[in-house]
Amino acid sequence: MNHLKLPYWIMALVTGVYLFLHLPIIALIAFSFNDSKFSTEWTGFTLHWYERLLERQDILDGLKSSIIVGLSATVISTVLGTLMALALARHVFRGRRLVEAFLYVPIVTPEIVVGISLLILFVAMGVPLGLHSVVIAHVAFNVSFVVVVVLARLQGMDRNLEEAAMILGADELTTFWRITVPQLWPGIISGAMLAFTMSFDDYVITSFVTGTGSSTLPVVVYTMVRKNIEPSINAISTVVLVATTVLVIVAERLGRDKPLVADKD
């Protein structure tokens, strides 16, 4: 590897950009340990806000809703999105181009429009609002993102790999699980993580279709902020951040190959 010495101004620029990106997060983590009710001055270290989390039933309920909605929406949209990407990449059917074109509609539609239209639809169809309506709404805007990510991966995949597996004796299903899925795995994982992030993060659409007792964390936080803000929000955000980071590392490790025979010597 050739180590190039970068000019100082580039180093300074890179440092600046990274600080700009990450300083708010560092501030958030730091102030979650701050022994003051206000996030403006540092008065000392405390774990009080983490203990306080356990008392805030509304935050815990919001977190629970967010996790339920996030996981359900992620699983459903990842499965649907992956299957749809496979259909688009591998099969020629009537209306394929149309399906492909409409894929981008949810991506470019403003969230406020999606939120209102979903609410109108749910009311018109008599669907009661609750966790399930939030899940349906999240799946609706996540599927397109998963398809786009998985499709990109599929298009870069060598089709001969599947043929090679088949001539070696693997039937269609075995080929799919042993060859296609491992090849798509990075795409599926990034699609799923994107879906989970967007679902976990969404406020606008969720606020339209949520019912009583099904508020997700962003909705709870937003409601809190309007009344009074307290650093337990920093604490819950830090918990979420750490959990997500661990998940990403675990997902990355899962994608590696194991040797044929375990090492003994």
């Binding site: 060598d158 001969n160 597996a165 491992p182």
Partner: protein, 387 residues
């Protein structure tokens, strides 16, 4: 349809130990309006090194894919048979054959040993046997198991990947091995080495090889028999010597090696059965051997290989040889041979290959512009069919 029912039965008289490994009977394959393979028939015997040779788009790869089961033949009565059994509708994994792909198609997420063991696992080989067979296959293609077994395909050179792809196929001990231009992506020196190794493996293992290539030299080097394909059909099928020395059409004569073509009209039948042909350009005449495709008054097209031609001063042509007078255009030094380009009447230019006997000690005396005659023995030509 009783006939088709009888002929598609696996218990037909052809099935059994002495049946050809591969048999195509009037097979066609159409993609939409494009006819990739048109009514082709051939058989491949056990242990043969059989090449499908042709330019890109000639149908050779489609033929191989029909054999592998990646494509189904048109349902017009054509049959693909493996060991006597009709396999038109059989999936690739039901065929018990092996294949080496052009780009190797190694599984990027699996190590070398797991790539090689994949087929064994799929075909239900006993677990305890697998590591030993993987090791043996790696040794067969001269890959050190200790060094390479745990590597991922991305950590190998092109030549090493090629060997892994070969080991992955050979470990199955298949009766039939398909190879789709497997040497296309490696450099010339290694390619020559691999050609000889493949030929040797074919003879040692007794496995039938079907080899797709567009490289005529490669096909001549390795094959027992070659099917030259052109425009979705088999233009000619034969041993390398038959293909090279008796090309049936102008396409085959041009595609395999170099050829000079002479057009004329058969004028008269000589007492010994041969024909005297009036050249279309220049007013000369020459003798061609008798054959089913020559008749008085009919046009005749012949091909003569550059090395079967000779150049003489116009007044010194041996009496038994055919000759056409012309002028030297150029002498090209190629090392092993010299190519003498001669302009003939009718804007025709022919190439004469002479063995280089040392230009420093015994130089050829031809110079550009010299009057000269190209000459060949009547039996050293091929009368071509129309394409």
């Amino acid at each position: 349809m009783p006939e088709s029912a009888a002929s598609s039965s696996p218990a037909s008289p052809q099935a059994g130990a002495d049946a050809p490994v591969v048999e195509f009977r009037r097979v066609s394959k159409t993609f939409g309006a494009f006819r990739a393979v048109r009514d082709i028939s051939f058989t491949i015997r056990k242990g043969e090194f059989f090449s499908l040779l042709g330019p890109s788009g000639c149908g050779k790869t489609t033929t191989l894919r029909l054999l592998a089961g990646f494509e189904e033949p048109d349902t017009d009565g054509g049959e693909v048979r493996l060991l006597g059994e009709v396999v038109n509708k059989k999936r690739p994994y039901e065929r018990k054959i092996a294949m080496v792909f052009q780009n190797y198609a190694l599984f990027p997420h699996l190590t070398v040993e797991r790539n090689i063991s994949f087929g064994l696992e799929m075909r239900g080989t006993l677990k305890v046997e697998i590591p030993g067979r993987v090791r043996k296959a790696m040794e067969m293609v001269r890959l050190d198991p200790g060094q390479f077994a745990r590597r991922l395909p991305a950590q190998l050179s092109g030549g090493q990947r090629q060997r892994v792809a070969l080991a992955r196929a050979l470990v199955l001990e298949p009766s039939l091995l398909l190879l789709d231009e497997p040497l296309g992506a490696i450099d010339l020196k290694l390619r020559k080495e691999m050609q000889l190794e493949l030929k040797q493996l074919n003879k040692e293992l007794g496995t039938t090889f079907v080899y797709v290539t567009h490289d005529q030299e490669e096909a001549l080097t390795m094959s027992d028999r070659i099917a030259v394909m052109d425009n979705a059909r088999i233009a000619q099928l034969g041993t390398p010597a038959e293909i090279y020395e008796c090309p049936r059409t102008a396409f085959v004569a041009k595609f395999i090696g170099e050829s000079n073509f002479f057009d004329g009209t058969a004028r008269e039948r000589l007492p010994d059965g041969r024909f005297r042909v009036q050249a279309t350009a220049g007013g000369g005449s020459y003798v061609v051997p008798a054959g089913p495709r020559v008749a008085e008054g009919q046009p005749v097209r012949i091909a003569v290989r550059p090395e079967w031609l000779d150049v003489f001063p116009p007044d010194q042509v041996p009496p038994e040889e055919n000759a056409i007078a012309g002028r030297i255009r150029d002498v090209i030094y190629l090392g092993e041979t010299l190519h003498v380009l001669v302009d003939l009447p009718g804007e025709q230019r022919v190439t004469v290959a002479l063995r280089n006997e040392g230009q420093l000690t015994r130089p050829v005396r031809w110079q550009r512009g010299d009057a000269a005659a190209v000459a060949w023995l009547p039996e050293d030509c091929q009368v071509l069919e129309d394409e």
